[in-house]
């Protein structure tokens, strides 16, 4: 956490992030939006949107919070996958990562339908995500397009994203199985990422670039599906 800001709230985030009490209803609802987006985007309902409006948040505010949280989740996943050391000054140091914390639960059901809020309300963000998605899924190295699609479908199924077909190529191919396991950890338990998660794929000849590609592909797929599921669920 960067220096500055509300120290009481900062300490609450570090010590009990799922039970943060903010000073104002607006901040409280922003914390709620970030929490649900990160941990269970399928759990949103129209009640959350109504409560956000009551707290003074506009549709644009809600969309910004959800998109920002989904995006920052990507940065977290890449930082954990690569193991990059923290390199800027922090006012309050976060606790050490606890890898025994269980993975997030997969979605209990698939979400389909019209989103309550359209990403088009943020055209620059919509354009940036589209460019990123095209780069991530429309190339053949180091991963093949089939592997990229496979990852996206697996991730969508774990997050309950009904806008993407479920994986239909579950033939028991060991390589697919290893790719799927790494993508699952990236999506549902990024704090468990470490050298042990890469071992199976390294044994098949995956380079660091290919391993990074699996993580980055799963991460952007997760960002897109998390955003989709959250916005659709807000209409339910």
């Amino acid at each position: 956490m960067a220096s500055g800001g509300d120290e009481k709230l900062s300490r609450a985030i570090l010590e009990a992030p799922r039970a943060v009490t903010a000073a104002t209803p607006r901040l409280q609802l922003l914390a709620e939006l970030a929490t649900i987006t990160t941990t269970a985007p399928w759990a949103f309902s129209r009640t959350n949107l109504s409560r956000a409006h009551t707290a003074g948040l506009s549709d644009e505010d809600v969309l910004h919070a959800i998109a920002l949280s989904a995006y920052f989740g990507h940065l977290n996943r890449i930082a954990d996958a690569v193991g990059v050391p923290l390199d800027y000054d922090v006012h309050l140091a976060p606790p050490a990562t606890e890898p025994t914390v269980p993975a997030l639960p997969p979605a209990p059901a698939t979400r389909v339908g019209r989103p309550a809020l359209e990403l088009g309300l943020r055209p620059d963000t919509q354009r940036a995500i589209a460019e990123w998605r095209d780069y991530a899924f429309k190339r053949d190295e180091p991963l093949t397009r089939r592997q990229r699609t496979f990852i996206a479908r697996c991730v969508a199924s774990w997050l309950g994203d009904g806008s993407i077909s479920p994986p239909d190529d579950m033939t028991g191919n060991p390589l697919d199985g290893a790719v799927r396991e790494l993508a699952r950890t990236v999506t549902l338990a990024p704090w468990q990422l470490g050298p042990q998660c890469f071992a199976a794929l390294r044994e098949t000849g995956f380079s660091d670039a290919a391993l990074f590609d699996v993580c980055a592909t799963a991460s952007i797929a997760g960002m897109i599906s998390r955003l989709e599921v959250a916005l659709v669920s807000l209409a339910s």
């Binding site: 992030p17 193991g83 670039a209």
Partner: protein, 91 residues
């Protein structure tokens, strides 16, 4: 150079396309709180060094979310910090 779980190329070690991407990233406006004391490229950018072409896509998206409203900077910080903590990420 591998200092983490996967290879990371620092600014000083970068050449060619990656060095050019890093130079463009260094020209972006960045709040002082996020400028690393080592003066190089922030670690979260170098974490993407295995895929130089990905970097402008990822951080172009960041500009639209972290560099714009309607949420204020402290509100964006709240969302980012809480997301990071829930993901148990030190970054």
């Amino acid at each position: 150079m591998t200092v983490g779980h996967l290879e990371i190329t620092t600014y000083d070690a970068a050449t060619g396309e990656l060095r050019a991407v890093y130079d463009r990233m260094r020209e972006r406006p960045l709040p002082p709180a996020y400028r690393p004391s080592h003066g190089g490229v922030p670690g979260i950018i170098t974490a993407h060094s295995l895929d130089p072409q990905l970097i402008p896509r990822v951080f172009g998206c960041s500009t639209t979310l972290n560099g714009a409203g309607p949420l204020s900077w402290p509100e964006r910080e709240l969302v980012n910090a809480l997301t990071s903590r829930l993901n148990q990420c030190l970054y």
